[in-house]
Symmetry: C2
Subunit: 125 residues, 2 copies
DNA sequence: TTTGATGCAAAGTATTTGCAATCGG
DNA sequence: CCGATTGCAAATACTTTGCATCAAA
């Protein structure tokens, strides 16, 4: 994989974010740094970086959102506003339990999504 | 909410599935029962049923896939073929641990996604 | 010089929406 | 009858792709 300004910018800008953007959302951000970058380049590079394990697709069935943090962490999803946050409860469930393979599935990792209401949406109720 | 043939069919067909379809995928299935149903009707009803809590969006940040099962269960996601399966390991991690709220988040439930390779994709390696 | 990477634009896929017609209570 | 719901089609949103050009090694 060659170096390119574009790929570097995509990787670095994603790493700075706490949100989990789609390709087009990251495009808007990276464009502030490289105004002439194209949307296709962003999508192509995200897929490339994903294959190399340099960024994570959200490992929850949503293949179109990316996470620049490789280290394990959990997420909180607000059912009202649907924002997704990084979230590390004091007790991370499951982490202490052994991962068990079955005949059908070879498990490499596991991720927990907490689901409920964020503070703002709670206040509106 | 009034009754309609269409809504009933959408709800019932989704309930029969073990997969977690998008709107257009469910449309193909429901159409075998109601050939004249329209795609827009399927999307509109899924959103309606979701708001009433009658179906679940996949509580993992993927708002475009639906699950007809309300009772808690886990999922396995194959990183290669990207199929998503219902999955209940013998030890469901986290279930025995208390759910703890924080100042920012009111947690209503939690879901674990196991991530790795399914049997078929493993065989190809 | 060679080939991977890019910009651009067109095509493809998934979802939402406006509106007149229809159906259920 | 009245308003919720529908079918249809057009519009929107997001992603992928073909191709000529550019740039890294």
């Amino acid at each position: 994989m060659r170096k390119s300004q574009q790929r570097t910018a995509i990787f670095e800008e994603l790493g700075k974010l706490k949100s989990h953007p789609r390709g087009d959302e990251l495009y808007d951000i990276v464009r502030q740094r490289l105004p002439r970058i194209s949307l296709g380049t962003v999508y192509r590079n995200l897929e490339l970086l994903r294959q190399r394990g340099m960024v994570l697709e959200l490992p929850c069935g949503d293949f179109n959102r990316y996470d620049g943090k490789i280290s394990p962490h959990h997420h909180f999803l607000c059912r009202q506003c649907r924002r997704l946050w990084d979230f590390n409860p004091d007790i991370a469930p499951g982490e202490s339990k052994p991962i068990k393979n079955t005949a059908d599935f070879q498990i490499e990792s596991q991720f927990t999504v907490f689901y409920g209401l964020c503070r703002q949406c709670l206040a509106k109720t």
